[in-house]
């Protein structure tokens, strides 16, 4: 049974939460990824090991962290160390997933969080890479969570901040990035995407499933580049009543995000 009354953000969080894998380590960025991670630990991934870049690992997420360094990121945690320790843990191959946001994404999953417009004279100065570039470089698999519109889904990002597939097959390895690391999904306010990264693939973004009530045409119209559209595009399950209850009552009761 589902509740027809939910926001696009709530839907995006629920779809993202379903991508977590139980018993894995995952870097959690500020914002939506935190809500998704908390929802995952309450549903399909009770043994998720959340990792927060400034030092917290293995926390029990009882309250929504508002900062990646907040005490809630190491509440009843297994490790409270520093940024070097955890980034080096990722560089050593111990962090399975990274959940990231960004202001722009291109067909290869490259993200921009630095400037809109030319770097030295930007139209808009964004916060900067933060841990984004590191997470996208070091984690085995990364998932991007984005608002979906033409301004954000662009043919070329203004500043390549966080590496996706860069320019396509083999580009990451050629650049010296750790072998086997890659972007796997994009969760947006409209749909779920993956990449055409099979043998002989184009390594470009591919529509995997639309959100309930969203047409494939809508997704195409809101994407600033040619998205690969398979013959059959399933529809994601809507948020369950229980998912929404947990989101609204347990995870974000103060409505920082939802």
């Amino acid at each position: 049974m589902t509740d027809q009354n939910y926001s696009k953000t709530e839907l995006m969080i629920c779809v993202a939460a379903r991508l977590f894998e139980d018993g894995t380590t995952a870097f959690i960025g500020t914002g939506i990824p935190m809500l998704a991670a908390m929802l995952a630990t309450k549903t399909i991934a009770p043994n998720l090991v959340p990792v927060f870049e400034f030092g917290g690992l293995g926390a029990i997420l009882e309250e929504l962290p508002r900062a990646v360094g907040e005490a809630r990121t190491f509440h009843k945690g297994l490790v409270a160390a520093g940024i070097c320790e955890l980034m080096e843990t990722a560089q050593r191959g111990f962090i399975d997933y990274g959940f990231l946001g960004g202001a722009q994404i291109d067909p290869y999953g490259n993200l921009n969080s630095i400037t809109i417009g030319e770097h030295d004279h930007p139209k808009a100065r964004l916060p900067g890479s933060g841990g984004g570039n590191d997470v996208g470089s070091q984690c085995w698999r990364t998932v991007a969570i984005m608002q979906h519109d033409k301004r954000r889904f662009v043919p070329k990002v203004d500043f390549l901040t966080t590496p996706g597939y860069l320019s396509g097959e083999g580009a990451r390895e050629n650049a010296g990035l750790p072998r086997g690391t890659r972007p796997i999904n994009v969760v947006s306010t409209l749909a779920l995407m993956d990449y055409d990264d099979g043998p002989g693939g184009s390594y470009r973004m591919r529509l995997l499933a639309t959100h309930p009530g969203v047409t494939v045409q809508e997704v195409i119209e809101n994407t600033g580049f040619e998205l690969i559209i398979p013959k059959n595009v399933p529809v994601n399950d809507p948020p369950s009543v229980e998912e929404l209850r947990m989101l609204r009552e347990e995870i974000d009761p103060d409505r920082y995000y939802i």
Binding site: G31, A71, A81, Q91, S137
Partner: protein, 325 residues
């Protein structure tokens, strides 16, 4: 091990490791002297116009906010800053004190982008932004802390980050991997807030340590503010808890609630209304100025600031602290 790529970003602070060694030999005493002073004395003694400065951890978490506010009060300008920052750097930028940035992340986290950063950069008031990832800037300080001119890393590669930084890409002579070389970052001044310290600067931190260990070891001058001053015998009882040894420290400032409105793990929680007040005020230059007037220019120092916040509120934040359970 040829150089495959070199960033065009400005080397805001040169990685002069030999000069740093000589500084540490001649300018840092090995004697256990009393380094206690207040915010006003510490900032005027060690922070100067145009210096390269950094703060740790950041605005809402274990951050030297009382020192950051005093810096604004004294109007130290043309600062070159290594910028991982949330509230503290917002205050400096809003006051027009920042000229160049080795920037990693300056934003308001849950509350989004920093309008103070946008205004300062988009207006050209900040003339230079050199881009780094959070790990890269920490590893740059770690290089200095280790006493070496660079460290290799596997971040930054393949992106515009390399181009707009001052890093280089080389081939590792052992494995043939392409690696990023990060130049050592030597700060003129670092300010760090800790849970407790003795009067000589032997300091302990509880909870996550962010990049305190690296920054403390990468600075020519180090000012620490501390929630509590403890006898040196307490330090000697737990030498394995000393994260910042005294010989790194130039000033010890006793600053209870020194991280306010940010939190201090196991001591007090963050003051959301005051943080939100900045988020709202800083949407306009005028609003930001009003906030500075109220919380910085309008009070003589940290004592008055705490009066402004008021005791009952501070006690409430203590009740809301993270507890060891």
């Amino acid at each position: 091990m040829e150089i495959l790529e070199s960033g065009i970003g400005e080397m805001i602070q040169p990685p002069d490791i030999e000069g740093f060694r000589e500084w540490n030999r001649t300018q840092k005493t090995r004697k256990l002297v009393d380094k206690r002073m207040n915010e006003q004395e510490a900032i005027s003694a060690f922070v100067y116009d145009g210096c390269y400065i950094g703060t740790e951890l950041y605005g809402t978490v274990r951050c030297p906010m009382s020192l950051s506010r005093e810096l604004v009060r004294q109007g130290k300008k043309d600062l070159r800053v290594c910028g991982q920052g949330v509230l503290e750097l917002d205050l400096w930028m809003a006051a027009g004190l920042v000229k160049k940035l080795d920037i990693t992340y300056i934003g308001l986290e849950v509350y989004g982008t920093s309008n103070a950063l946008r205004r300062a950069v988009e207006s050209g008031q900040i003339t230079t932004c050199v881009e780094w990832s959070n790990a890269s800037i920490s590893w740059r300080m770690k290089a200095t802390a280790m006493g070496v001119p660079f460290l290799p890393a596997r971040s930054m590669l393949g992106t515009d980050m390399i181009k707009y930084s001052s890093a280089k890409v080389v081939e590792d002579p052992f494995s043939g991997l392409k690696v990023c070389l990060l130049p050592a970052l030597i700060l003129d001044v670092a300010i760090i807030h800790v849970h407790r310290s003795d009067r000589h600067g032997n300091a302990q931190i509880e909870g996550i340590t962010g990049f305190a260990a690296e920054m403390a070891r990468a600075a020519k001058r180090l000012i620490i503010s501390t929630e509590e001053i403890v006898p040196t015998d307490d330090i000697r009882k737990y030498p394995d808890r000393t994260i910042i040894p005294y010989y790194l420290v130039d000033a010890v400032v006793h600053a209870p609630f020194g991280s306010h409105p940010g939190e201090m793990a196991y001591m007090y929680g963050r003051d959301e209304p005051v943080i939100r007040e900045w988020v709202e005020s800083s949407k306009t230059a005028e609003g930001a100025k009003a906030y500075l007037d109220k919380y910085i220019y309008g009070v003589a120092g940290h004592q008055e600031y705490m009066k402004l916040i008021d005791e009952p509120r501070l006690s409430q934040l203590v009740d809301e602290r993270e507890k060891r359970v």
